[in-house]
Amino acid sequence: MKGTLITLLFFVSGCLLSVYGYTPQFLVENDLSTYALYALMTLVGVSLGMDESSINILKKANLGLVLVPISIGVGSIVGSGIAYWMIAESFTEGMAVGAGFGYYSLSSIIISSTYDSILGVIALLSNISRELFSLLMAPILVKLFGKMAPIASSGATSMDTTLPVITRFSGKEYALIALFSGIVLTILVPLLIPLIL
């Protein structure tokens, strides 16, 4: 819980710095987050490469492994569609936002440029909060629903931004499942959204 609050504090601090214009100029001019992500990916890779047991889970479940991103994708699309329909909005629009799988940059760009800009902003917010929720709630999701739940919640982001927390709370043996699922879902985002809308 302490870790969750510290993590949240960094995010909120970033929002406040930016809203009140206290962001250091060099941060605005240079998009350092890309390089920070590269550094993080390398570190996660090193952590995985040092762990020799993580390969073994791939030998255990082949059909199961393929079914992970499929079940997450179907559940995400249908779940978002039903939720949106329940507040008297379009089932189809709900499915399209759900097919973003947390990949907020790409999904919001596709939706706003090919369909509607307001729905694009909704997709941006919804998928950002999905990533944020997954980062913050990973330990609680593992306790309530098992080790697969953070991977499901993370969607496409389980291959990069949320991979470190999944590795930490589900265990290193789930890192390759998260990676595989995230890669498949990331590839599906630009394919599924135009098909749904």
Binding site: T7, L17, T23, T42, G49, S76, L125
Partner: protein, 88 residues
């Protein structure tokens, strides 16, 4: 997708360093710190987006409904796969 190149390079590096057990704690601590840095950047980029700030009260509720629906649906569906193929 280029992030996967860094991941792949890291895995190779980690594999080469796998005998150095004293490095593991430092790598894990560095991962935690990088998560903090990236969340700070994510917050900065959201705070700087005027379109998000202006409409947040109108569209935020809709976005939240979609987030909850998507997360709940994916957890429920994948739980069956987890029970059948993964849970020891």
């Amino acid at each position: 997708m280029e992030t996967l190149l860094f991941l792949g390079g890291g895995i190779l590096l980690g594999f080469l360093l796998r005998k150095k057990n004293n490095m593991r704690a430092a790598v894990d601590k560095s991962i935690t710190v990088m998560i903090w840095v990236l969340l700070l950047f994510l917050g900065i980029s959201i705070g700087a987006n005027q379109q998000v700030i202006d409409n947040i009260h109108v569209i935020g509720g809709k976005a939240l409904v979609l987030t909850i629906g998507g997360i709940a649906g994916s957890i429920v569906c994948s739980y069956f796969v987890y029970r059948k193929y993964f849970k020891a």
